[in-house]
């Protein structure tokens, strides 16, 4: 009897220890968000849009220490503004030597990081149509910014990967990705088709951000914290830049004017403040960097340790007239070396030692130069072109001029070189104008890039060629 009780007890104990709960293995993350349980309200899309802006700070794009920064530093290094400095550890040498190959990790990083922003723009609007009827204005605010970002990143890709920029070119453009689907294998569009897509996205975006539930940011404030996001003004500036590349001159003039009228050039007094992030005078769009994020252009000049990896060529420095406020804003004299100061101003002037600085990616100064160039390219509008050019010159404290014709076009390019140094323009400006790089100082065997060279466009990364059977490589690679 007693042993039967024991027997039953033992079985009960054993049975209770046999856990049989399938629930034990249904576990959900607590410190990340499960995408299947999210996107239930339109407000939740806002978080993903914020993440999209953060993606702009990936190393391969604008700020990156080791071999990154392909859309900022590399654009000037591949051109004619810098030569090897004493502390160069080989960073960006590939861009300087134009010897990028399809397996170059920096080239791959630029491609991957740009498309990763695009991925996130598409995630920011995935299924947002469900709320279009009920929350139209909120949807406008989120989708408008996402579309503009998407168009802009495609334009960045076009600048490096398309061999030419002609608006109607049937040459290889880039793959335009406008939905999130990891299984896609998009083919490259023609340059024309790419422009069509960028233009359409930007125009839709412009309309959307013009009609939102709440203002995105102030159009007029010059507070240093302003202009972090994309609003109508940013769309206008993006359109102006694109139309200049596409040589659609009337449109370039139209949109540049919209920006110029809304946000005038900075006064000489506030110009320096722009580079300290103390002011956003004439800043249209600024990618905001925070402490502990990479300092821009550190691969050119790093204040910590005073590392001069690349030094400006004398040609460039000599272009600035005496009294040109840009000279002091852009260049710093460190122990007898003139070094890039544009992105270390915050460090030296404000005692903010690592100099993490915002990237002023679109400015009114560029808009003047866009409009001036567009006028100059049109027949019979040299006067307007010169007026814009001189307006900029005089605000900056440079000597004005009276150029016409080809000299005017050259002067505009020279002014672009001075004004937009290390803002992601020089190589592309050469590419769309003379299609020749002529270096004059310490360039060893890398002094000239001729029009026929393959290096005007990056190769499509080897991994992409392996993964995407519809992808076409650029000629020469």
């Amino acid at each position: 009897m007693k042993s039967t009780v024991k027997y039953i007890m033992a079985l009960i104990v054993a049975g209770s220890l046999f856990s049989s709960c399938k629930k034990a293995i249904d576990l959900d993350p607590t410190h990340t968000i499960n995408g299947d349980d999210f996107f239930e309200t339109v407000d939740e899309y806002d978080f993903v849009l914020t993440g999209t802006y953060q993606r702009l700070k990936q190393n391969g794009l604008y700020g990156g220490v080791n071999g990154g920064s392909l859309f900022l530093s590399a654009v000037d290094i591949a051109a004619d503004n810098f030569y090897n400095g004493p502390d160069n550890l080989g960073n960006l040498n590939t861009a300087f030597r134009w010897n990028y190959t399809a397996d170059n990790p920096s080239v791959q990083a630029a491609w991957d990081d740009a498309y990763r922003v695009i991925q996130h723009t598409n995630l920011s609007v995935r299924g947002i149509d469900r709320f279009a009827a009920t929350d139209r204005l909120k949807v406008n605010r989120i989708e408008g910014q996402a579309r503009a970002l998407r168009a802009f990143m495609h334009f960045e890709l076009l600048r490096w990967w398309a061999a030419d920029y002609d608006r109607n070119s049937t040459a290889l453009g880039i793959a335009y990705v406008d939905k999130f689907d990891i299984e896609q294998m998009p083919a490259r569009l023609t340059v024309k088709q790419t422009y069509d897509k960028i233009e359409a996205d930007l125009k839709t975006a412009r309309a959307m951000v013009s009609n939102t539930d709440k203002p995105i940011q102030s159009a007029t404030s010059t507070a240093g914290t302003n202009r972090a996001y994309i609003d109508r003004l940013v769309c206008d500036a993006m359109l102006a830049r694109m139309y200049l590349y596409a040589n659609e001159l009337d449109s370039a003039i139209k949109y540049a004017s919209l920006v110029i009228n809304a946000r005038p050039l900075a006064s000489q007094a506030s110009f320096m403040d722009i580079w300290h992030d103390a002011s956003t005078a004439e800043v249209i769009w600024s990618i905001k960097y925070q402490a502990a994020e990479p300092a821009l252009a550190r691969e050119i000049y790093q204040t910590a340790g005073d590392l001069i990896s690349w030094e400006p060529v004398d040609d460039l420095l000599n272009l600035y007239d005496i009294g040109d406020i840009r000279f002091d804003a852009y260049w710093a004299d460190v122990n007898g070396h003139l070094v890039l100061g544009k992105y270390s101003a915050k460090a030296t002037a404000l005692g903010n030692p690592d100099g993490v600085t915002d990237f002023k990616i679109l400015r009114t100064g560029e808009m003047y130069l866009i409009r001036s160039e567009a006028y100059a390219r049109k027949t019979g509008m040299g006067a307007q072109a010169l007026a814009d050019l001189n307006a900029l010159r005089s605000v900056r404290g440079a000597v004005t001029g009276s150029e016409t014709g080809t000299a005017l076009l050259t002067a505009i390019q020279t002014e672009r070189r001075k004004e937009l140094m290390m803002e992601g323009h020089r190589f592309f400006d050469l590419k769309r104008t003379t299609r020749t790089v002529n270096r004059t100082q310490s360039c060893n065997s890398f002094c000239t890039l001729l029009p026929a060279n393959r290096a005007w466009a990056f190769p499509v990364p080897q991994t992409e060629m392996l993964a995407n059977r519809n992808m076409e490589q650029n000629p020469g690679y």
Partner: protein, 979 residues
């Protein structure tokens, strides 16, 4: 007189028949620790008369004169001793012959004879004298099929363990570790005392690993710790002292004169003499040749104290131990200090048996960065710095005047700290109840926890290179904590029955494993005051950039299982093992969480057959074959199948970013293995060995399926491949000489493994950087453009085109070809043990061959762009003038790293361990009132034969990234004292 005559007659008679009786008494002990062995059967050879030893190991037996006594005990080698005199002390050694061992699989224990799977067993006592902090490294070369690669000599670092070839490409390849029945985290053993370990059992084939189902695909290492014995209490004290030193590097950089010659007289882009040295500079600097190795490294000391006690009676047995282990690293400032304690208790009360094993270890590790090619890493910087720059200035301060901007490694080494404090506790409690009225039936439940608490502290001093990327540029202090709790609960009902010629056993199991991991960390900046730790952090302001970074995370995972393990034998000749298991994992996609595993094995003891009775060749011969499956889900993070968004912020606003793609089809990798083997002993047990062959196929192999990066992601983990590993394992042990005073044993093992990619989901190949998986080729083959030397006319590097014949000076990644393999084709170990009286000498060599290493560390010192740093001596052969015949291209030629120029053979043979020991004879130690006293001296890694251009070719990822902290050479002496 008459009686005496009769007596004499009897005496003569008895003597002539050797029947004179005498009493013999003595003690039987275990050779390992001289502890008494109870229950040893003692009998006169050729008779059935005998006795067994008592609790204290003592026996008393009455034997005829001149007889031979046989001492036999399960698990120990039988010993025959001729009787001479009235007292006889005998020590028995653990059985070396495979066929007499016990097989421990974690869930079951079976006689090796009856077991049909493939399990290698290594006694802790064979290996635990080696002065290594992490126990898995002790097993190198000891067991066939088990590849152990320890890349780092950093104290406490873990090795890579691969059992029977890598069955996974992307998923984990490290085995499952089971200690006293519960899973513990792999590669995290610095807080565990190897001397507590009784046995290592390495489960290799599917009938064994399928018991672990979804976690078993990479093999299982089952560790049991020492338990108390039913014997008199024995106290043991062990002490070791060792000295370690740096092996010699075969990558020789330029000395000062060579480097200056190179700078001054070799043309390069930017021109020669980049630093503008004058002749006077040249003359003085070329005479400066500071010893950077001296500045970085030291002769490092190791010390260990272990105290243990074991004993018990027939109801309660115990083993307790405590240890202190301190190891200095070769690199100055690196070290490991470990303190451990253990209590193992077993108690029997009627039909109940309870067992507890509990260990707690505390370790404190001070480390330095390794295995990267970051310029601030001291192990890179000391090589890259210019050879004519001294470590210190004459005033004793750090020399920061390197004109090439190469950082001095010493501030980062000496001023920064990189500390890990770990508390590790493993506790297991088991309860077994023998159901009294059904013979052979019992229920058992066992619950255990592997608890780890890791506290990391990194201090970055303001005066170091690492500070240059610190926000605020004023030093940083980072603290991170990780707390992981893994609980394993196993409950089973077991039944055993023997009836006539049949006997069988079956166990039904249920198991739940839960793991939770919590991480927290912060980094604070502005370490500008005198306090160089958390208290020294300066609060952040908008201008000083000292804004602290904070992070935290928590994950949970669970596996639930139901399984059955059965065995059957007929006439102790034919054996069957059977496992069936069903596992569910929280990590995998909905609807794909559960999967079934199973294993079936047959064994045949041929020598037990009647037809073998008359043959003399084989003492033992057994064939076995098994087939089954085990799984692997070590892929990605704990929620790998879900689309996950993680934190992100922009402009001070919190947001989300995609961190993991959804994988609706993600399921287990399943590895099925067919194993066939033969175990034998011949030549009167002098030669024993085993040969096994295996064929294992991994289905649903995790691979990164390439995606168009235009989608924002370049690849996704997919169950898409099929991989085969085939191999042969041979183990042989031969007693060359075996007599009373002298034994000489030689043994060796060899494993050959070949992997082949069978399917890639419709693709022909998947390239991942410099490795490729291509159908019909070995997994992870090296994939590089083939270097074809230097064009003597212009100094251009030459490459083979894809066709392998055409030579070009244009580097094109599309010309890459399969040029080698990163995984060894073969490996093993061999050695010898000589005992003479109380002396023992044993040596172990280990070897690995048939693999390549991509030497990134050499790339970084052969790239002529880095002329401002020190370079490989090879660069003195650089092409300079038309007609130069050399293998180093012109510095004007585009330098390309990913070519076969930097792929090297990794083959090596290593004198892994040599040890000589002396046990003082009983006559002396008994006078000193001691149980045993043994002294020993050993050498570890004393010499390695290899051709790799670096310190050591033992590199497990196929790439030596740089900053190599090599495995150390060590000499250790020690003493082991038993009371």
């Amino acid at each position: 007189m008459k009686r005496s005559l009769l007596f004499t007659l009897f005496a003569v008679l008895f003597t002539s028949f050797a029947w004179a009786q005498q009493d013999v008494t003595g003690v039987v002990t275990d050779t390992r620790d001289n502890s008494p062995l109870s229950g040893v059967s003692v009998f006169v050879k050729g008779t059935r008369s005998g006795t067994t030893t008592g609790q204290d190991g003592r026996f008393r037996i009455s034997v005829p004169n001149n007889s031979i006594l046989v001492f036999s005990f399960t698990g120990f080698t039988e010993k025959e001793v001729a009787v001479s005199g009235n007292s006889l002390n005998v020590s028995l050694a653990i059985a070396q012959t495979n066929l007499q061992e016990v097989v421990i699989t974690g869930y079951t224990t079976q006689n090796k004879r009856q077991y049909t799977g493939s399990v290698a067993k290594i006694a802790g006592s064979e290996v635990n004298l080696q002065p290594i902090g992490s126990f898995e490294q002790l097993l190198q070369g000891k067991a066939p099929g088990v590849l152990i690669q320890s890349q780092s000599g950093q104290p406490g670092s873990a090795a890579s363990v691969t059992i029977r070839g890598k069955g996974s490409v992307l998923g984990g390849t490290q085995p499952l570790y089971i200690v006293d029945g519960i899973q513990i985290t792999g590669a995290d053993f610095q807080s565990i005392n190897p001397a507590d370990i009784e046995t290592y059992s390495i489960l290799k084939d599917a009938v064994a690993t399928s018991q672990y189902g979804s976690r078993g695909a990479n093999g299982v290492i089952v560790v049991t710790t020492k338990r108390g014995k039913n014997a008199k209490t024995v106290l043991n004290y062990d002490y070791q002292y060792g000295v370690q030193q740096l092996p010699e590097s075969q990558l020789v950089l330029m000395n000062s004169k060579e480097k200056l010659d190179y700078e001054l007289y070799y043309d390069r882009p930017g021109g020669a003499n980049g630093f503008g040295w004058s002749q006077a500079d040249y003359d003085s600097l070329s005479k400066v040749n500071p010893d950077w190795e001296e500045a970085m490294f030291r002769k490092a000391k190791t010390q260990q104290h272990i105290l243990s006690a074991t004993g018990g009676n027939d109801k309660t047995r115990f083993f307790i131990s405590g240890s202190i282990f301190t190891q200095e690293g070769l690199v100055k400032t690196t070290n490991l200090n470990r303190y451990t304690g253990r209590v193992n208790l077993d108690h029997t009360a009627g039909n109940f048996k309870v067992g507890i094993s509990a260990t707690i270890g505390f370790s404190k590790t001070s480390g330095t960065f390794e295995n990267d090619n970051v310029i601030t890493t001291p192990l890179n910087a000391y090589r890259w710095t210019l050879p004519y720059i001294t470590p210190y200035l004459p005033d004793g301060s750090y020399n920061l005047t390197d004109p090439g901007g190469n950082p001095n490694p010493l501030p980062d080494l000496f001023l920064n700290t990189n500390l890990n404090k770990q508390i590790k506790a493993i506790g297991v409690i088991s309860l077994e109840y023998r159901i009294p009225f059904v013979k052979g039936l019992n229920v058992r439940t066992q619950w255990g926890t592997d608890f780890t608490d890791d506290q990391n502290e990194n201090y970055t001093d303001i005066n170091t290179q690492a500070n240059q990327v610190v926000p605020g540029l004023s030093g940083a202090f980072n603290a991170g904590s990780l707390r992981r709790v893994r609980t394993t609960g196993t409950t089973s009902i077991n039944y055993e029955k023997k009836s006539g010629d049949h006997s069988f056993g079956i166990g039904l199991f249920n198991e739940l494993i839960k793991r939770s991991t919590v991480t927290n960390g912060y980094t604070g900046f502005g370490l500008i005051g005198p306090i160089k730790n958390a208290a020294g952090i300066t609060p952040g302001t908008p201008t000083n950039n000292f804004i602290p970074l904070v992070a935290g995370g928590e994950t949970e995972e669970a596996i639930i299982s139901y399984f059955a393990i059965g065995n059957y034998d007929y006439k102790n000749k034919y054996f069957v093992n059977l496992t069936a298991r069903r596992d569910g994992s929280s990590r995998l996609a909905e609807g794909k969480k559960f999967v079934n595993y199973g294993g079936l094995g047959f064994g045949w003891a041929v020598t037990s057959e009647n037809f073998m009775a008359n043959q003399k060749l084989f003492d033992n011969l057994k064939f076995k074959v098994s087939y089954g499956s085990a799984g692997n889900a070590e892929i990605g993070d704990s929620y790998e199948a879900l689309e996950q968004f993680g934190p992100s912020s922009y402009n001070g606003i919190g947001g989300l970013r995609l961190v993991n793609l959804k994988k609706d089809e993600l399921t287990w990798e399943t590895r099925s293995t067919l194993n066939a083997g033969v175990d034998f002993t011949v030549l009167k047990d002098r030669l024993s060995g085993s040969v096994e062959v295996y064929n294992s196929i991994t289905n649903g192999l995790y691979l990164n399926r390439l995606l168009s990066s235009t989608n924002g992601v370049g690849s996704i983990v997919t169950n898409m491949g099929k991989l085969r590993n085939q191999g042969v394992e041979i183990f042989l042990s031969y007693d060359l000489i075996k007599n009373k005073d002298l034994t000489v044993n030689i043994n060796g093992n060899w494993t050959g493994n070949k992997s082949e990619m069978l399917e890639l989901d419709g693709n022909d190949e998947i390239v991942n950087g410099i490795s490729i998986n291509r159908i019909g080729e070995r997994a992870n083959s090296a994939y590089l453009v083939r270097y074809a030397g230097v064009d003597p006319d212009n100094g251009d590097a030459l490459y083979y085109k894809a066709d392998g014949k055409t030579i070009t000076n244009v580097y094109d990644p599309a010309d890459a070809a399969i040029v080698g393999s990163f995984d060894p084709k073969g490996f093993g170990g061999f050695g010898a043990t000589v005992t003479y009286k109380s002396f023992e000498l044993s040596a172990l060599f280990t070897y690995q061959y048939g693999f390549d290493i991509f030497n990134q560390a050499r790339v970084d010192v052969e790239n002529p762009q880095y002329w401002f740093s020190n370079l490989n001596r090879n660069n003195l052969r650089e092409w300079q003038h038309p007609g130069d015949i050399t293998d180093i291209p012109s510095p004007f030629n585009d330098f390309q790293a990913t070519t076969t120029r930097f792929l090297e053979k990794g083959d090596f043979l290593r004198l892994r361990n040599i040890i000589v020991s002396y046990s003082l004879p009983n006559s002396i130690i008994s006078k000193w009132k001691m149980g045993s006293l043994k002294i020993f001296a050993q050498g570890q890694n004393l010499y390695t034969w290899h051709s790799f251009q670096g310190y050591d070719p033992e590199v497990f990822t196929g790439v030596l990234a740089g900053a190599h902290y090599p495995a150390l050479k060590a000499i250790t002496i020690g003493v082991s004292l038993g009371l």
